[in-house]
Symmetry: C2
């Protein structure tokens, strides 16, 4: 275990001062003679020298890392988001410090604290909905925060990248209405999340527009984790007047809901038409293949990283941005006209 070369080693070896080495390292910080540069580059190569990130960060405020605070990597939606974020970040020479909250605001608080100590210049996050003051403090400390997928109304100073959640839910609902369904149920995430609230709102609006009242017993705003999705399905199907359509408004709940539907041997779409949020590799592999609302993960990731890195480099206008990208409705075989 030999120890790594420092900038001083390079300087000595090349017969120049550290300042010169620093300049060739950070191209354009100052003048360096063509010949000197060549010699230095050569020595850097030979000594296999890499500047230490910690020293750089200590010196300048500049950070080369962004924090990524995700709800749950076991959820394929977030996993793919992480995948794209890491990819986009790398393309910009930035690395990603990953933290997960498991939808728990205490863990989220812990993550925020952690991030304050690290010198991340920006944070991309899917907030749980709590910790408003802590997020605010992070912003206050000069960290650029970008919320993706979800948002927090009380924090207008952070950037947001998301789909139109209300609209997407409305489209999904109208799809079932158009198929002749009247009793339509909606399973959503907790109303403490913006996605939960917005999607339920879209659902209600679509029902209202069709002259129907959304029966409250058909709306389940339930936790993401655990088997709440399954239980909601059981409850819905135990109703005297069963719904014939069901929208599962959050990926996190699709698996448990679907498993319960299968366990109960309910015919899809014969007895129950199903529309779920978020497309992923297996939604078309199950039978029947699922009708889905597909979020454009690449776009979400790209814009998030653009904002996070842009603000890092100070190349973005002041006012926070709220970027909306289009979700896509993909009809497959889990939804069909209501059988009379």
């Amino acid at each position: 275990m030999r120890k790594a070369a420092t900038i001083r080693d390079v300087a000595r070896e090349a017969g120049v001062s550290v300042a010169v080495v620093s300049r060739v390292l950070n191209d354009g910080t100052g003048p360096v003679a063509q010949q000197t540069r060549a010699r230095v580059v050569d020595v850097i190569e030979r000594l296999d020298y890499r500047p230490r990130a910690a020293a750089r960060e200590l010196q300048q405020r500049s950070a080369t890392a962004v924090g990524l605070v995700l709800a749950d990597l076991a959820n394929p939606f977030f996993a793919r988001l992480a995948d794209r974020v890491v990819g986009e970040a790398r393309a910009r020479g930035i690395h990603v410090v990953l933290l997960t909250t498991l939808e728990d605001s205490h863990l989220e608080a812990e993550s925020i604290e952690t991030l304050i100590g690290r010198s991340v210049g920006s944070v991309i996050a899917t907030p749980t909905g709590g910790n408003v003051d802590r997020w605010a403090r992070l912003v206050e400390l000069g960290v650029n925060v970008v919320f993706v997928d979800r948002e927090i109304d009380e924090l207008p100073e952070v950037d947001v990248v998301a789909i139109h959640n209300d609209l997407s839910a409305e489209v999904a609902t109208r799809h079932l209405l158009d198929l002749g369904h009247e009793r339509i149920a909606f399973i959503s995430g907790p109303l403490s999340t913006s996605t939960g609230r917005d999607r339920v709102a879209g659902f209600k609006r679509a029902m209202g527009n069709a002259g129907k009242v959304a029966d409250d017993r058909l709306i389940h705003a339930i936790p993401f984790r655990g088997d709440a999705g399954g239980d909601a399905v059981s409850a819905l199907l135990a109703l005297p007047n069963r719904p014939t359509g069901l929208i599962v408004g959050n990926t996190a709940q699709v698996r448990s809901a679907l498993r319960r539907v299968k366990q109960m041997a309910v015919d899809v779409p014969g007895e129950l038409s199903l529309v779920v949020f978020d497309d992923n590799p297996w939604t078309e592999l199950v039978s029947p293949p699922l009708t889905v609302v597909r979020q454009p993960i690449d776009m979400l990731a790209m814009h998030s990283v653009d904002l996070a890195v842009g603000r890092l480099r100070g190349s973005l206008p002041e006012p926070p941005r709220r970027i909306r990208v289009e979700a896509e409705f993909v009809q497959r075989s889990s939804s069909a006209p209501r059988s009379s």
Copy 2:
């Protein structure tokens, strides 16, 4: 944007020297009077002070981060591994810098370079199989490297956590043999990865033990990404003498293989019995539910982090460890006795 308090601010405010503050920060580094400590803690609280990670890392060799270099987060196996690793790391007060290689050794090289600059004390990785010298250099620089899931024979100085890949493949193969299958095909990852090699070896051994020769045309060692899995399925089913059993030896290939099987309207398990590597949330949701070899992801993650953090803290014995955990064979409905 007010600027964060430093250790000096705390010292001044508490009327002590920075050394004292540092000591209360790193409990046990030196003596501090009970009363003084209380005062300092109080000020820290009031000023909302957090030590800057960069400064700490610069000073001591101690790093509070580990690098995680994964093949592909879009693959649920790796995503769940990441999830568990992040969780285990957080429990130990360590954060995770995430990088992905997309199975590309150039991107892997880039990741290694990045990690050299960051002061990560340890790296957990699923190596592509290349970059032997670069991994070696990382080790040489004193970074603790832990390979998980895969390994590289030429690097005996790194820790490894994995299942018995040969054995698992053998079990899967014997399962199909026991069901009466004679022509069994095996799709695996590239032989440049240890998992590819070991699983194919296990397959061959099981076939040999049963007195059968593994027909080379029934073994496809193919890339992870893209639709190679699908193409392999097509090739296999186009054979004059079709296999009646198929083992897909890598998660990354399951989806494309399965999709092709469905497209070709092959009856599973009627015409083709299927066993695939790695269990995940949807394997039991497709129809028929898949017979799988399940890797104990929690164990893989836990041991990896144990090793990574243990070496960081210097609390582990010198010789590198090769930890093997048990895979579990889970029979579901995609495999059945050969129909004569």
